[in-house]
């Protein structure tokens, strides 16, 4: 293997060896610098969050946490209910992801495998809704949630997330690539639609489910607009809005504590990302959703 065994979209490349040119070394050097510049703010974040409050944020900047302390992380929960917020974020993300996957898979099966009046019309109608920006529907949805008494309730976040038109479309396209002869065979053996969908088609759709789940989870976990509009009590907030409250709220924390909170939100994401990097990148590359 001469070159990058690309993690991207499973595209492995093998090029014939070429004579090394000085340009190649320069490119490598430049890329190394770009990579270091990209992670520099994150390194600074972790270093300062582990530095004693009195010594933090000195210039020239520290690149080693000295004197080292974990006190900043322990101070977070005195200012915001960080643990509760993490639980809230997790609850919303899990319900949104699992729920929207279930709803999407059922709908995609109907669009791909079942025949009924108005099917193509409904599909086109849903598809054109991809053009409608979320900011347009948020005001009526807010009014609706107020009528349902769901303002300042996590359900206001996950309920609208259950419908994910893009994943319906994506699954439908994916299901269409699975040979229909398999259905026929299963049906002759007496299988019903639930069996065909859940025991046959879904197990064959692993990559699609993985890609959509990752994106749905990510969108929910990082959502800032929704909680900003629907949530107001700190103990009911999710992490992104909680972070901003910590920095700008009435009892705002010292900068090191804010940094510790940002780091506490970011580091788990980094760990998960490094483990599942291949799936993460593949899901984005195959779908092309911009967060």
């Amino acid at each position: 293997m001469t070159t990058t065994e690309a993690t991207v979209a499973g595209a492995a490349t093998a090029r014939p060896p070429r004579p090394p040119r000085p340009g190649r070394l320069l490119v490598s050097l430049l890329l190394l610098v770009v990579g270091l510049l990209m992670i520099a703010p994150l390194v600074w974040l972790v270093v300062e969050s582990l530095t004693n409050e009195n010594s933090a944020f000195g210039l020239p900047p520290n690149w080693i946490p000295r004197p080292f302390t974990t006190e900043n992380f322990r101070s977070i929960s005195g200012l915001i209910p960080f643990g509760q917020m993490a639980v809230n974020s997790l609850v919303v993300a899990v319900i949104s992801t699992v729920g929207s996957m279930a709803v999407s898979v059922l709908a995609a099966y109907a669009f791909s495998r079942l025949k009924f009046r108005g099917r193509d019309g409904i599909f086109l109608c849903m598809l054109s809704a991809l053009m409608v920006p979320a900011q347009m529907t948020v005001i009526p949805v807010f009014i609706l949630m107020r009528h349902l008494h769901l303002i300042d309730n996590l359900a206001a976040l996950w309920l609208p997330a259950l419908i994910n038109v893009f994943s319906i479309f994506f699954f439908r396209q994916y299901f269409n690539t699975i040979p229909r002869e398999l259905d026929e065979a299963a049906r002759i053996d007496g299988a019903g639609h639930p069996w065909i969908l859940f025991r046959m088609i879904l197990p064959l759709s692993g990559p699609a489910v993985a890609a959509m789940s990752i994106l749905a989870f990510e969108a929910s976990w990082n959502n800032y607009f929704g909680p900003l509009i629907f949530l107001s009590t700190p103990s009911r907030m999710t992490l992104p809005i909680g972070l901003v409250t910590l920095q700008s709220g009435q009892n705002n924390g010292a900068s090191v504590v804010v940094f510790a909170a940002i780091a506490a939100v970011t580091i788990p994401v980094l760990v998960v990302f490094l483990i599942f990097q291949r799936s993460f990148v593949a899901s984005v590359a195959s779908v092309g959703i911009r967060g």
């Binding site: 890329l31 025949k115 009924f116």
Partner: protein, 315 residues
């Protein structure tokens, strides 16, 4: 992976040929409705209904407390005479265009570079470092960069000073607040464009490049006459997606400059919509503004469908 080519993902949706491949009738019609019913119900309640409601609300004036009053086209005429709306639109377009330009150039250069790197560890490091910020939530990114750019203890102004450039006070200087947001967005989102470009690069047939080289083309000619034309579907797709995402930019501008920045330099159209709808409770007016956002989205999407057929190199 599901598809080698990301550009084929969105466009074929409305491809009329798809309809020909309608599956065989399988069972009675009500089964289809049964499978579809949860999605259909949610769609009507949370997308279609609110969409219609937003259009209706745009013709009313309402503060969410007193009864709504019919206002005719009043909100729309008011929009024409709203200097802040023009400002927000201008900011948003500048942001979106700058975002498209920097992302396309940056993403393509990074992808071309990484594709040439021989050292596997280096390639892994660069890919990870460039992509990772995209995974972090905007809330964390925006807060972090507020500190990174801080004039008194931020590392960015410090190192700029070390190389002899006096950094502006980014978020109090009306000339530099929007460029700062553009820069932060680049750091956060470039990984996305990079991955799309890298995937697109793999679709360029190796034989073509080898053939061009055998014919004596130099690397620059190969880039401009082979690689970029062959990547045009990817580049086109990245342009559309980046523009659509950038046009709806809200999180970083709202978190760093909740009041809209110096001289409203960072008020984006969605921020303006948020201010009108959820801070001054001019629900009708905010809905009219949201219609404008929808219109821009619709035009871009239509351009995408038309352009995908017309301008993109056919393979």
């Amino acid at each position: 992976m599901t598809t080698a080519q990301p550009s084929s993902q969105v466009a074929p949706a409305l491809d009329p040929r798809d309809r020909g491949r309608t599956p065989r009738p399988a069972g009675r019609g009500w089964v289809g409705y049964l499978f579809l019913s949860p999605a259909l119900l949610l769609f009507v309640v949370f997308i279609a209904g609110p969409f219609v409601a937003a259009i209706v609300l745009a013709f009313f004036s309402w503060d969410m407390l007193t009864p709504a009053k019919f206002n005719g086209a009043g909100n729309f005429t008011a929009m024409f005479h709203d200097p802040l709306l023009y400002k927000a639109l201008a900011n948003t377009f500048i942001f979106a265009l700058a975002s498209v330009l920097t992302h396309l150039v940056g993403g393509l250069l990074l992808a071309l570079g990484v594709n040439r790197v021989m050292n596997r560890a280096l390639a892994y490091f660069v890919r990870t470092a460039v992509f990772f910020p995209f995974v972090i939530s905007w809330a964390a990114v925006a807060l972090l960069w507020k500190y990174v750019l801080d004039p008194t203890f931020g590392i960015f102004p410090y190192y700029m000073g070390r190389v002899g450039i006096h950094a502006p006070d980014w978020f109090t200087d009306p000339h530099w607040a929007l460029p700062a947001i553009i820069g932060i967005d680049f750091w956060h989102t470039i990984g996305f464009t990079f991955v799309i470009m890298l995937a697109g690069l793999q679709t360029v047939p190796k034989e073509l490049i080898e053939a061009a080289r055998a014919d004596g083309a130099n690397p620059r000619q190969i880039l401009w006459n082979v690689t970029i034309p062959m990547m045009s579907p990817t580049i086109f797709f990245a342009t559309v997606i980046t523009f659509i995402g950038a046009f709806q930019i809200f999180d970083p501008a709202q978190i760093i400059t909740p009041d809209g920045g110096p001289d409203n330099a960072t008020t984006t159209i969605v921020m303006y919509l948020y201010q009108k709808g959820f801070q001054s409770f001019q629900v009708g007016y905010a809905s009219a503004v949201s219609l404008l956002v929808f219109l821009v989205m619709m035009i871009v999407t239509l351009l995408q469908f038309l352009g995908a057929r017309k301008w993109v190199h056919q393979q």
